[in-house]
């Protein structure tokens, strides 16, 4: 036995803590004030962004620096469906996610013409194009953007309290659905293939999964959830505007830093990363640019010294993942003889 019962108990406790946390958060509007409701709503959205970047960069080997493209598309699509097509808020959100997925298909076709680091910068080009195009769509406020009609805002909740609570629950629901769905995706045959690829490209072929298909599915998967998150963020911010809805800093840079610090290649890492990032932000946000310099330096240091981040460090002392996404893969590695 390599792991002591103490370590196993720690993992178990962390799992229970995670579940209790979700349950406790479900009742958040009963005990949180408006400021905290807003704060957590933002945390949940950020969590979705982090899990999505981790999925593509940590598992599918697509190190995108243009994920703000889908967030913005989701935002603009939400505006179109809610303010122009008069769908109700939920329908408009789902439609926005689906449209983001749909637009993701041609985007995939273009950026997958490139590989590795080229693909990374290619996604950035695409995001630039989306941002510029968004300011050109007639009826969406051009470069200065446009505010959501008050009918849409009122549809979320009659007063501020109701609105904040509903937004909170929507964000929590999105984060939980995204979390569970992504964990299931990683536990599926597709996830097995991706994890095999991460370790060894040849082994991946022998698992019998088409790696290119896996990567495309992952990329589109993030298009869907990022679109949904974009719709939600629009509802929070009450407006769309090209530079804000397609914010490189907010929806890509901070997210990358959070995931890298928390630990790339694990869902736990994304959660920890968001928590650390939020904590640091409350403490140091007054320093503005200096804070970003600090985050950049920390990320560089982590990449060079401990590429698996905080969770990677912790995980060494634990017998298994808290969120068991890879247990179905492990027996297969053992079955493969070492070189």
């Amino acid at each position: 036995m390599r792991s002591s019962s103490l370590q196993t108990n720690i993992v178990r406790s962390l799992r229970i803590l995670l579940l209790l946390g979700i349950v406790a958060l479900t009742f958040g509007p009963l005990y949180l004030d408006l400021g905290h409701l807003r704060f957590f709503t933002e945390v949940f959205s950020l969590l979705v962004l982090a899990m999505m970047w981790n999925l593509v960069a940590g598992y599918a080997d697509i190190v995108t620096v243009g994920q703000h493209a889908f967030v913005g598309i989701g935002g603009y699509a939400f505006y179109a469906f809610a303010a122009k097509a008069d769908l109700n808020v939920t329908e408009a959100m789902i439609a926005a996610g689906l449209l983001s997925l749909l637009i993701g298909i041609p985007i995939t076709a273009v950026v997958f013409r490139m590989r590795a680091a080229y693909l990374a910068i290619g996604t950035w080009v695409v995001a630039e194009v989306c941002t510029l195009l968004a300011s050109k769509i007639p009826g969406f406020g051009g470069a200065s953007g446009i505010t959501l009609p008050s009918t849409v805002i009122r549809a979320v909740g009659a007063n501020v309290e109701a609105r904040f609570s509903h937004l909170y629950w929507m964000a929590l629901a999105l984060a939980v659905v995204c979390f569970i769905a992504t964990a299931l995706l990683l536990r599926s045959r597709l996830g097995v293939g991706l994890m095999a690829m991460r370790d060894n490209e040849e082994a991946a072929g022998s698992v019998g999964v088409n790696i290119v298909v896996c990567r495309i599915v992952c990329f589109l998967w993030t298009a869907l959830f990022l679109g949904l998150a974009g719709a939600l963020l629009t509802l929070q911010n009450l407006r769309i505007q090209p530079q804000a809805s397609f914010s490189l800093i907010d929806y890509t840079v901070y997210v990358i830093f959070a995931v890298v610090i928390g630990g790339i290649g694990s869902i736990e890492g994304s959660i920890i990363g968001v928590a650390v990032y939020i904590g640091l932000r409350s403490a140091f946000s007054d320093y503005g640019n200096l804070y970003l310099i600090f985050l950049g330096a920390v990320s560089i240091a982590i990449m060079l010294a401990e590429p698996r981040g905080i969770w990677g460090l912790v995980r060494r002392y634990l017998p298994e993942d808290v969120i068991p996404v890879s247990h179905r893969y492990r027996p297969k590695t053992e079955a493969t003889p070492a070189e």
Binding site: A57, A117, A120, I256, L292, I300, P307
Partner: protein
């Protein structure tokens, strides 16, 4: 109308020279080290601010300032590679390469914001900036854009000469061909990489000078230069020096044509052309690995 259009095309071609200058350093680092430096654009902007400071403090011309910073730029590039970038090249895992250079980009951008604030700046080169030449057919070109284009051609020519006629050039090409073989026969790739990065930094200093005179720049202009340089490198054929001139002209002309439609389409047209080329003709544009 036609003359106006022709005029725009000529301007676009000349502007392409500047883009080629941005790209030539990136092309070198892609070709030799397989390094895509996301901070490339930010280094150009950083160099522009250094030039700006030198020009204001000493009251000298940007060109003289550029000559002054060329040797320190080489040293800076050499050390940058030696201390940091060497750790992230040569791996099939691209994550460190992207994240480290991305982190650098953020650090430089925010460092400049702290030091200089968000206001746009420009390098002043006196009458040179406004002088223009009348060509036939109603085409008027600015003297400075013409000089920039000429400088881009000269820079590429010199780099080409250096790579194919000098002993260090041969070593750089050897390491680019097969880095492991180089190490096996005692040609230290680490040192050659550092020299190559020093040269890249010199091209950055040169392009910063021309960019700073030609256009406004501010601490957050880096990504725009990076994306342009990247598109130029990919369209011109990865690692090809003369290809960057071709790619630069393509982007420059696309932007000029876009600007004819609507000023806001200027930047968009360049990106769209890049994506179009990627879809239509990906062969030969993909990295050789």
């Amino acid at each position: 109308m036609f003359n106006g259009f022709l005029n725009q095309i000529v301007q676009g071609i000349l502007h392409g020279g500047l883009y080629a200058m941005f790209a030539v350093g990136l092309s070198l680092s892609v070709g030799v080290m397989r390094l895509i430096n996301i901070a490339h654009g930010d280094f150009i902007v950083l160099a522009s601010f250094v030039l700006f400071t030198l020009c204001t403090a000493l009251g000298i011309s940007p060109f003289l300032a550029m000559l002054i910073i060329l040797p320190p730029a080489f040293v800076f590039g050499y050390l940058m590679q030696h201390v940091l970038l060497q750790k992230i090249v040569g791996s099939s895992n691209i994550l460190p390469m992207i994240l480290v250079t991305f982190g650098l980009s953020i650090i430089i951008e925010n460092g400049l914001l702290i030091g200089y604030g968000p206001n746009p700046r420009k390098l002043l080169a006196g009458d040179l900036q406004i002088a223009s030449l009348q060509l036939g057919g109603g085409v008027t070109v600015g003297l400075f854009p013409l000089i920039t284009f000429g400088a881009a051609v000269a820079l590429i020519f010199l780099l080409d000469l250096f790579l194919y006629r000098s002993r260090i050039g041969a070593k750089i090409r050897a390491v680019s061909d097969d880095v492991d073989a180089a190490d096996l026969i005692g040609l230290s790739s680490k040192r050659i990489y550092a020299i190559a990065m020093g040269i890249v930094a010199m091209t950055i200093a040169i392009s910063a000078c021309f960019m700073g005179i030609r256009t406004n720049f501010d601490p957050s202009s880096g990504p725009t230069q990076l994306l342009t340089a990247f598109e130029v490198v990919v369209m011109g054929g990865l690692g090809s020096l003369w290809g960057t001139l071709f790619g630069g002209i393509m982007i420059g002309v696309a932007q000029a044509v876009g600007a004819q439609i609507d000023l806001a389409w200027e930047v968009l047209a360049g990106h769209l052309l890049f994506l179009l080329v990627l879809v239509v003709r990906p062969q030969g544009l993909l990295p050789k690995e």
